[in-house]
């Protein structure tokens, strides 16, 4: 097979190999290589073939698995004899990446793998293939979505997900599929991001939700690819485990879903904003970053909005202080609100367009300083919203 093709696939799959830790199954630190001879009536890799746009040749599959995620990448190969072998994953990826530019020949027995490429030859002990678990199948496809649009939406939503395992479902991005669009939501109780994007369902009445681990989804979505479409799958596997699948260019990532009930977020989304501020996104973000330098890790920034301007301030009597004025479009009453600068910066980084719109549901300055503010980008329209709860002084 081609060196570049194999290197690409092993490098991709190796990122899913769990780190070797005490107590973990050693065999999972390996990559499973499966060589199959195609039979005309066995359409075992249908969408792979479709993605590559030609008949499936004799093929190799590179797979990785840990409790949360399974990954499977097809590789164009000439197979002389079918078989399965598990090779230490990171080592294999390192070796293949460094091979000279020449065809690669892999030959395996139960106990070792020989890799030959040009004049280079590697002999690597194999891991116990009989211990390798059965990988979950790709869940039933539900539709397709544009690769870049999907990646952009995930990047807008995932930062709002929780990181505290006390409430696992909040570490997920919630995906809701409906005929009208694919909606993604994440919240850590303090901020919430929601985005709806167009997609092409391939089932009649799409109506399902999946809670996909946010970090994993963010990692997968940002991987570079030449493919323009992502195929999505959702369903419960043979073992009764709910799974979500992404297939890009035939490369499948199959994720175990998080359990638990997601809070009813829709009632948090305000219908309208009585006060709105339009601010230059990059200028405001730069000011927040500067002023936040003097704030301790958990200390808030105070934002005072008045006609045509907002002043960001941080610091307290004893220590360093900073403030900066940013001209904005605003003509409401004077309004003073405290925000966590990191949360606000996440929102400003996520909105699209040169201008960010910050909305407050009520014109009463007292109430507005304890209700969520809504961030959108001028170019986001109604499709993206980032809600942010303020900070209050005192303890609770």
């Amino acid at each position: 097979m081609e060196r570049d093709v194999l290197a690409d696939a092993t490098g991709w799959a190796a990122r899913y190999v769990p780190k070797p830790t005490a107590g973990a199954q050693q065999v999972l630190t390996g990559l499973l290589l499966e060589a199959t001879m195609p039979t005309p009536d066995q359409d075992q890799a249908g969408d792979q073939a479709q993605a590559r746009g030609r008949a499936p040749g004799p093929a190799l599959t590179v797979s990785a698995f840990d409790s949360e995620v399974a990954a499977r990448a097809p590789v164009e190969a000439v197979v002389t004899e079918p078989g399965r072998v598990v090779v230490p994953g990171r080592l294999l990826a390192d070796v293949v990446r460094n091979l000279p530019d020449a065809p690669v020949v892999v030959e395996a027995t139960e106990t070792r793998v020989i890799i030959e490429c040009g004049a280079a030859r590697f002999r690597i002990p194999a891991l116990a293939v009989e211990d390798y678990p059965v990988l979950p199948a790709f869940p039933p496809p539900v539709g397709e979505v544009d690769t870049l649009g999907f990646a952009a939406a995930v990047a807008q939503v995932a930062p709002a997900a929780g990181r505290d395992d006390a409430l696992p479902v909040l570490t997920a991005v919630r995906l809701e599929i409906a005929r009208g669009g694919l909606t993604m939501v994440a919240t850590d109780r303090y901020r919430l991001a929601v985005r709806t994007i167009p997609w092409q369902p391939t089932v009649d009445d799409p109506d399902a939700v999946a809670h996909v681990p946010a970090r994993l989804l963010a990692d997968v979505a940002k991987l570079p690819t030449t493919a323009s479409r992502v195929m999505l799958g959702m369903g419960v596997d043979e073992a009764g485990v709910p799974r979500f699948g992404l297939s890009v260019n035939g490369r499948q990532t199959i994720v175990r879903l998080l359990e638990g009930s997601f809070p009813n977020y829709r009632r948090l989304l305000p219908e309208t904003s009585e006060l709105t501020v339009t601010a230059p996104t990059a200028v405001l973000a730069a000011a927040v970053r500067r002023v936040a330098l003097v704030a301790t890790r958990t200390a808030p920034l105070r934002f005072t909005f008045s006609a045509g301007q907002v002043v960001a301030e941080a610091g307290d009597g004893g220590g360093a202080q900073a403030s900066e004025l940013v001209p904005v479009e605003y003509d409401g009453p004077e309004l003073s609100v405290l925000f966590n600068p990191a949360f606000l910066l996440d929102g400003l980084a996520a909105v699209e367009g040169d201008e960010a719109i910050i909305g407050f549901a009520t014109a009463d300055p007292e109430i507005a300083s304890s209700k969520p503010a809504v961030l959108t980008g001028k170019d986001d329209g109604e499709d993206y919203r980032y809600l942010l709860m303020p900070i209050r002084t005192g303890t609770a």
């Binding site: 006390a166 109780r189 303090y190 808030p300 004893g318 303020p390 303890t395 609770a396």
Partner: protein, 420 residues
Amino acid sequence: MKPPPEPAPLESGGPGPSDSRILHVDMDAFYASVAVRDAPELRGRPVIVGGGNRGVVLSATYEARAFGVRSAMPMARARGLCPTAVVVPADHGRYREVSRAIMDVFRDVTPLVAPISLDEAFLDVGGGRRLFGTPVDIARAIRGRIATEQGLTCSVGVAPSMFVAKIASARCKPDGLLVVPPDEVLAFLHPLPTAALWGVGPRTEQALTRLGIRTIGDIARTPADTLRRALGAGAGGHLHALAHGRDGRRVEPDGVDVSVGAEETFSADLADPERLARELLRLSGRVAARLRARGQAARKISIKVRHADFSTVTRARTLAEPTDVTWVIYRTAGELFDELRATSRPLVRLLGVRAARLSAAGRTSHQLAFDERPSGWAEVDRATDGARRRFGEESVRPASLLPDRPRRPAPPREWGPGRV
């Protein structure tokens, strides 16, 4: 005693030590020095302060240290190393008294004093330039006052950050002053062994040695990701930042290692979970009320449980935000207690609740969540405090603490077991 090392020359060009505003003041062999000062006939002799039930060395004069005596060493071993040593029992009341006088000296030059223990403290003296001179002037003045007023010596590290100041004071002991100007921080740190860094204990040191990392400079040259993989995300990133001289912490007055606690030994050992929960609530209420009376809030809550067989366990959790609220302290203590007793539930002889990492309550703030009402338990506490002031301690208490009301309060949460 050896002569104090020369302070770094102030004329060395560059920006000078003007930004080295953090002082770490560490008393030299504090307990032993106090003992010698109070009994001058001991001067010049090896003196060991030993004590407590466990019989270990609490402090030793430098004369005794010359024989290899070290703090925390078993007394028997120390006597073996230094048979001529005079052993003095510890007098904690006396040490506290002297400590207060020393801390008062610090507070005369800056309000930003963070005591770490009786005998060491961090000071931020950046605001005292006009009144008291440069940080180096202030360090000299403090050393002078402690020597004349208390008859004790201390070592002072002066640096731009807390951890560098701490290392500096350790490198100039005893009776020394070491100034690390900002532009010399890396040159000062990098040749030092990794163990000089705060947070590098024997285990971390071993892990680093396995990577071939022996000096702080080696840490600085190692990619942060490699350190994270070897030591975990938190510790790895932390050490990498320290090795580059970055330490974001500020001197928080009275904010370090000072705590407020309450504990109770029961007349009969307890097993009933409801009764135990109520005791936790009672203790949490006492701790919270004491915090509020001092105007402080705590970020770390710990519990102590002593079983009928006298085995004692403690568990601690750090909160996202400081609190002085009974309900938050009780909920945290309750979670810790439930986790502790998830597998086995021996009879309980003593329960304790402690709040640490204190800061001024007026300067804390609270990140609101979507699922909480903006007023609640803090206000309940304020009302309770007011009623107790007017009508007495027993006038107001949670319903579950009323006689014949064995009920455990339920958490007021809509989205599940989040933590404030």
